[in-house]
């Protein structure tokens, strides 16, 4: 928004008005801009306004100050959900990056049947989170899934009942989530690895540096932008996480695996607590901004200072 207008208002050097290409570009941006301003910022403001009212089923504009926030912060389920998104975010993003990168490296080492492995790892991505949730719900169900199968084989004390345990259910979300998204991360990392200048490999071979050290000290720092992309993509998935938890655990047992998005949807749609749900949504947004923006800021500045790799 800093340098528009001047180009548009200037007459061309022969003194006559002329349609300039950048006008077309700007015109084309108008719908997108309007949508962003109205649907994004407009609705954020609206949500905040609603959160200051005592709306239940319908929006009513009787303001009650920060009452809904007081109720929200007194709600144990909300704190469980917030704690869960932190745990889930850490495990899920961390898991996707670590496993995705390792898989990409393995494939990059020139494994046999590379195409097959790539397809196998990418396949889960073609499934929706709902389907992923249902599949893993069956696998992890102690009565009919993995636990039962292993016990049938003779190991009768085998236990894998995380999904029905209040203190473990949240980890099952990360397992199912990583399984689904690791393929995408692998593909991104692989693309990054394939972009590495072959001369670096030649040079390191000449110097006799072990392969793992090349990856750790040379390649990984070069992949900084890819890590950043993966982090942002996976963060977005964590913040939006709703369908996976609905299909996998339904937020249970109790509300032990609840996530903020589910809390908000439940309260707005099923419980007619529009005000409380809006307050939850707004707090979630603030939390996300507080956590993510320093990292984005840091990375972008680094990229700019470094001449934009």
């Amino acid at each position: 928004m800093a340098e528009p207008a001047q180009g548009a208002l200037k007459t061309s050097h022969d003194g006559r008005w002329r349609w300039r290409p950048q006008w077309t570009a700007r015109m084309a941006l108008i719908p997108a801009m309007t949508i962003t301003i109205v649907c994004f910022y407009g609705f954020i403001i609206w949500t905040f306004v609603i959160s200051l009212t005592r709306s239940r089923l319908l929006p009513v504009y009787k303001f009650t100050g920060f009452d809904q926030y007081v109720r929200l912060f007194a709600n144990e389920r909300w704190w469980t959900a917030m704690q869960n998104i932190a745990i889930h975010g850490f495990l899920f993003i961390g898991g996707c990056i670590v496993f995705g990168y390792l898989l990409a490296i393995l494939i990059d080492r020139g494994i046999k049947a590379e195409g097959m492995f790539r397809t196998v790892f990418m396949l889960p991505l073609s499934m929706s989170f709902i389907v992923t949730g249902v599949i893993w719900q069956w696998v992890m169900n102690p009565g009919l899934g993995l636990q039962d199968a292993v016990r049938e084989l003779g190991w009768t004390t085998f236990e894998f009942n995380w999904i029905v345990r209040q203190d473990r259910a949240i980890y099952t979300l990360a397992i199912a989530g990583i399984w689904q998204q690791v393929g995408l991360c692998m593909a991104l990392f692989l693309a990054g690895l394939r972009n590495v200048d072959p001369n670096i490999w030649k040079a390191s071979r000449v110097d006799g540096i072990p392969v793992w050290r090349v990856y750790l000290h040379v390649i990984t720092p070069m992949m900084r932008t890819v890590f950043f992309t993966v982090f942002i993509l996976m963060s977005a998935i964590v913040m939006k996480a709703y369908d996976l938890v609905v299909a996998l655990t339904g937020g249970g047992p109790g509300f032990s695996s609840d996530l903020p998005a589910k809390f908000v949807v439940d309260h707005i749609l099923n419980r007619q607590e529009l005000g409380l749900g809006a307050a939850g949504a707004f707090v979630l947004l603030c939390t996300v901004i507080a956590v993510i923006s320093p990292y984005i800021h840091f990375e972008l500045r680094k990229a700019r200072d470094g001449g934009g790799h």
Partner: protein, 414 residues
């Protein structure tokens, strides 16, 4: 939409004095969330009767109660309301009425004397400011206990009449290798079990007073602690795979004899019938153990949007009339697994479980409301489910802590 504006145009035309209005089919768009087989079949009875009386039915099914309610409200706010829509009666519906979005069906209700024939608690919930804003069409009971007769006989136990008896029976069943309680571990199912315990331990007066006042002292009382202790004592009688299980899977565990008891609403009968078993034969039905007889009611209802067109208003009245006709009530409720909302409808063609419920409801002291869809505001209802489910699934929470969390959750939500 197109059809509707056509009808509206026609209605304006006809109201200019042409007297063929009665000949024209009255069109009603019906928005509902009944998408399963038995629900569709039950609603089909109403549809058939409505069409037989000259109405035209436009079906708008939307899967999922929450989605359907949201759709009904959104369409109303958007100025394109469905003529008739399924909704839960109680506070939310009154909020819609408060905004002038609903039509009343007082004319039909008066003519057919709903005030006298419906249970008073349901009358109260269906009214706003003295006007009927919904037609309650059935009564489901939530304090049922379904049991596998063979499993009980093998363990040598009678149908338990009190909760201590139940615990003893459950221990015997466990020794027999049968899961005592087939429970679907979802918050609303855990709440149904809890409310049965609450009624059984506290009695019907305590139950009614607790949920109608949501009084802090009652919530903190000794009776309530006993309820939580009894509830907690049931935890060991549920199998490990219970959390997340759907209610109908739990019903099938009882039908197969893997589990002995299920505490569930009478819609479970639909599943029993679908398995080729007549309710009351190999799978028995009894009220959950309690110190006095009571019936925890939940109600399905349809509401009517405020509409300008006289045609639509006539269709709404016809619908209200059809829905509560005794013959339709019988046909509909037999397929739905519920009992008629009108207490004077003859019950001899119903199964034994339904007959038992109908006989019970003749005594108005037995009438109680569920906390699911219509007894309490939905915010409270949700808070109840949350805290019950949290307590039930927690490995280390004491009954005192459960009771305290329950009290707090309700006081923040009400």
């Amino acid at each position: 939409m197109k059809k509707f504006s056509k009808v509206a145009a026609l209605a304006t035309f006809l109201s200019a004095g042409v007297s063929v209005g009665a000949l024209h089919a009255q069109t009603a768009e019906v928005l509902h969330w009944w998408t399963s087989g038995s629900e569709q079949a039950a609603l089909g009875e109403i549809r058939a009767a409505f069409e037989a009386q000259g109405g035209k039915w436009v079906d708008t099914p939307i899967a999922g109660g929450g989605n359907a309610r949201a759709a009904a409200v959104n369409r109303m706010l958007g100025g394109d309301p469905a003529t008739v829509f399924q909704f839960s009666i109680g506070q939310q519906l009154r909020e819609l009425a408060d905004q002038g979005l609903l039509a009343d069906v007082n004319a039909v209700a008066e003519e057919e004397n709903w005030d006298e024939k419906l249970p008073p608690l349901i009358v109260q919930a269906a009214k706003y400011d003295g006007d009927y804003i919904a037609a309650p069409i059935n009564i489901h009971g939530e304090n049922w206990m379904f049991y596998n007769k063979e499993a009980l006989e093998k363990a040598g136990i009678e149908v338990p009449k009190s909760w201590p008896e139940f615990v003893d029976a459950a221990k015997k069943l466990e020794d027999d290798g049968v899961i005592p309680i087939g429970l679907g571990g979802q918050p609303w199912q855990e709440r149904i079990l809890f409310n049965s315990v609450l009624l059984g331990v506290g009695g019907r007066e305590f139950y009614a007073k607790l949920y109608s006042t949501l009084d802090d002292e009652l919530l903190a009382s000794d009776t309530m602690r006993k309820v939580f202790e009894t509830f907690a004592a049931l935890k060991p009688f549920v199998d490990e795979a219970s959390p997340g299980r759907n209610w109908n899977e739990a019903t099938n565990m009882v039908i197969r004899g893997d589990a002995a008891f299920q505490f569930m609403g009478d819609w479970a009968k639909g599943e029993i019938i679908a398995a080729g078993v007549e309710p009351g034969t190999t799978v028995g039905c009894a009220f959950a153990p309690a110190i006095d007889t009571a019936y925890i009611m939940t109600v399905d209802a349809f509401a009517f949007s405020a509409m300008d067109s006289e045609e639509a208003q006539a269709a709404q009245e016809k619908m209200a009339h059809v829905m509560l006709e005794p013959d339709v009530q019988i046909a509909f409720n037999k397929k739905k697994g519920s009992i008629p909302a009108l207490l004077d409808v003859p019950g001899d063609s119903f199964d034994v479980c339904a007959q038992k419920a109908m006989a019970t409801l003749q005594d108005k002291k037995t009438h109680l409301v569920s906390t699911g869809l219509f007894g309490v505001p939905s915010a409270v209802s949700g808070a109840i489910d949350d805290s019950i489910s949290n307590f039930w699934n927690s490995a280390d929470m004491s009954p005192e802590q459960g009771q305290e969390e329950f009290r707090q959750a309700i006081s923040y939500a009400k």
